[in-house]
């Protein structure tokens, strides 16, 4: 087959794949200071595939708010091409990536790249990623993760996934998408609400609450097979699942003994144990990253506030004090920060607390923020909020300086959950 024709078919396939799902789109509404200037040259090799990969890398880096993309001015450079460091430095690039995309004998695509420091005039490293031709963007995300980590010193999250719920018409869909909102796939479609999805630590399962039995019931859903298992369906309500960091247990909320109280249960639904003991509401449990403590929301003091107790239960200490409504606590992956939703003058806004100093910072000026979720590197917090009466997802950097918006056309998007690092 003539090569140009094959490329054309390939492009068509890409377009077809893009058209089948409601896509999230991303806007950068602010940017951090001191962005690292980096140039991504056009990759050599199969033109269409090379364009997909280079543009994925560029948009990932740009979206993070930590990089300033320097225009390569049409330069196409493979990973072995000699680099004129002075020239790239002159254009303002502190770093440069070059690469190529070729089709292997088995039909699979090989994406190679090399990253350079133009100041020190050295290569920082490189890699080759082999993927099916329909997964070029995944290879792009991997390359972006590599560059991000080399240049910032922290792990990238471009190849992680997010889960969220779309309400459209009378239908509720639990969707799984790439962290940039692309490549969305439906894991569960239901005529009844789905809330509170949470990823298992290994990324293979999502636990959530479904109302398909006319009451809230907790399920664990295996993403590869689509198989669903009931984890808690006791008399009364079953809600607010949270995985233990080792993936063996879930903290859950049951009303079987009266009020909403926190229990733990094995991931297969066995071994239910009560953890909290209060006369009020205890809900929204989340394990600390080391698994030793559970943060949760309780109204035991008269208004809903965040508390902390041992993961085995027992006495609880109050964590939030400012204001009369602080809910949905989420400890950061390093355990140093707590994200939560705080009501201020009737507005529900994303807040973070430095757990050592107890210093609180409000990160948004929205009206209806919900369900915060940390990226696995702790850099961004994904939330649901409302813009123009419609549910949208926003990612906010944990210092509040960078905000990205994701939205699905024709649907209400809510209940986001950022997945773990890819294995």
């Amino acid at each position: 087959m003539p090569q140009i024709f094959r490329k054309f078919l390939f492009l068509l396939a890409l377009l077809a794949a893009a058209g089948t799902q409601a896509q999230l789109s991303i806007e950068i509404t602010g940017a951090g200071a001191n962005r690292i200037p980096v140039a991504i040259a056009n990759f050599a090799g199969e033109t269409a595939a090379a364009q997909v990969i280079a543009s994925t890398v560029r948009s990932d880096l740009e979206r993070s708010g930590l990089f300033k993309l320097i225009d390569p001015a049409g330069a196409t450079l493979d990973e072995n091409a000699p680099v004129n460091f002075a020239d790239w430095k002159g254009r303002g690039a502190d770093a440069l990536a070059t690469g190529s995309v070729t089709r292997g004998a088995d039909g699979r695509m090989q994406a190679r790249f090399r990253l350079y420091d133009t100041q020190k005039q050295v290569a920082l490293g490189g890699a080759v990623y082999v993927t099916g031709p329909e997964q070029l963007r995944a290879a792009g995300h991997r390359i972006a993760d590599y560059i991000y980590e080399k240049l910032t010193g922290e792990k990238g999250i471009f190849s992680t996934r997010i889960a969220y719920v779309v309400k459209s018409g009378g239908q509720f869909k639990l969707q799984i998408a790439d962290a940039d909102g692309q490549n969305a796939a439906t894991a569960l479609s239901s005529t009844e609400p789905i809330i509170s999805p949470v990823w298992s630590p290994d990324g293979s399962k999502v636990a959530y609450v479904s109302f398909e039995k006319k009451k809230p019931v907790i399920y664990v859903h295996s993403l590869a097979s689509g198989q669903r298992q009931v984890v808690a369906n006791f008399k009364g309500s079953n809600s607010a699942p949270a995985w233990s960091p080792d993936g063996r247990k879930l903290a859950i909320v049951l009303s079987k003994d009266g009020n909403s109280q926190i229990y733990s249960v094995n991931a297969d639904g066995s071994g239910v144990q009560r953890l909290s003991q209060s006369a009020g509401i205890d809900t929204e449990p989340r394990y600390s990253p080391d698994g030793s403590a559970i943060y949760f929301t309780s109204d035991r003091g008269g208004s809903p506030q965040v508390y902390r107790m041992s993961a085995n239960g027992g006495d609880a200490q109050r964590v939030t004090f400012e204001g009369s409504y602080n809910v949905s606590p989420r400890p950061s992956p390093d355990g140093k920060t707590l994200a939560f939703i705080s009501r201020r003058d009737g507005r529900f806004q994303l807040a973070v607390m430095d757990l050592a100093s107890k210093q609180v910072q409000i990160l948004t000026d929205s009206v209806k923020d919900e369900s915060p979720s940390f990226a696995p590197n702790g850099r961004m917090i994904l939330i649901a909020t409302e813009i123009g009466g419609r549910g949208v997802l926003t990612a906010v950097s944990s210092d509040g300086r960078i905000k990205q918006r994701l939205s699905v056309a024709g649907g209400d998007v809510r209940e986001p959950a950022w997945g773990p690092f890819n294995p």
Binding site: V128, A138, A185, I195, A224, G236, V327, E415
Partner: protein
């Protein structure tokens, strides 16, 4: 109609991919793995009052009134609903084979999970009244739908007032009914 639950594998979709990085110098071919995903689909049955006695469904009967409304941030059954709750309790006392599911609801403001617990408090209050008036514990289950199933989808005070509510659903001894 009983609940209709159809989990089905509709199609295999690709969810994400993982490509394996190798040191460029190694030049070894790398296996990449496609995670394929099954889509589960659930269709829940709607409210179905067929199979229930007329006195529970006839609009002229007090027992066809199944909603109890609550004030903002309040979880106690207001005096104007005491008669209605008493009528339902009496029905459950004389018809021990019947069961009810009480679904508590809240307005849309605030955390979904916290609202779920608040809706539970409303459902629990109705359950307590029913049991106090003679219904058996096993006849009554109180659950919460939180803010997820608003009766009025609006975003103003009158819509919120309609959504601060507990509903009573009935099931006959033969298993037919509304839940």
């Amino acid at each position: 109609m009983k609940k209709l639950l159809i989990p089905a594998l509709l199609s295999a979709l690709i969810v994400g991919c993982s490509s394996t990085p190798v040191d460029e110098t190694s030049g070894a071919p790398v296996e990449s793995r496609n995670g394929s995903s099954g889509v589960a689909s659930v269709t829940a049955g709607g409210l179905d009052s067929r199979g229930l006695p007329r006195e529970l469904t006839d609009p002229k009967s007090q027992l066809s009134q199944r909603s109890i409304y609550f004030d903002l941030d309040k979880y106690d059954v207001k005096p104007e609903y005491q008669d209605l709750v008493a009528a339902h309790a009496k029905y459950l006392v004389t018809n021990r084979g019947f069961k009810v599911l009480i679904q508590g609801n809240t307005d849309e403001r605030g955390s979904r999970e916290y609202n779920l617990s608040l809706g539970q408090k409303r459902a629990d209050a109705v359950k307590r009244s029913l049991v106090m008036l003679g219904a058996k514990e096993e006849q009554v289950e109180s659950v919460s739908l939180g803010e997820e199933k608003p009766k009025n989808p609006g975003h103003d005070e009158s819509a919120w007032a309609e959504n601060r509510r507990a509903d009573i659903l009935y099931r006959a001894p033969d298993g037919r009914g509304e839940f």
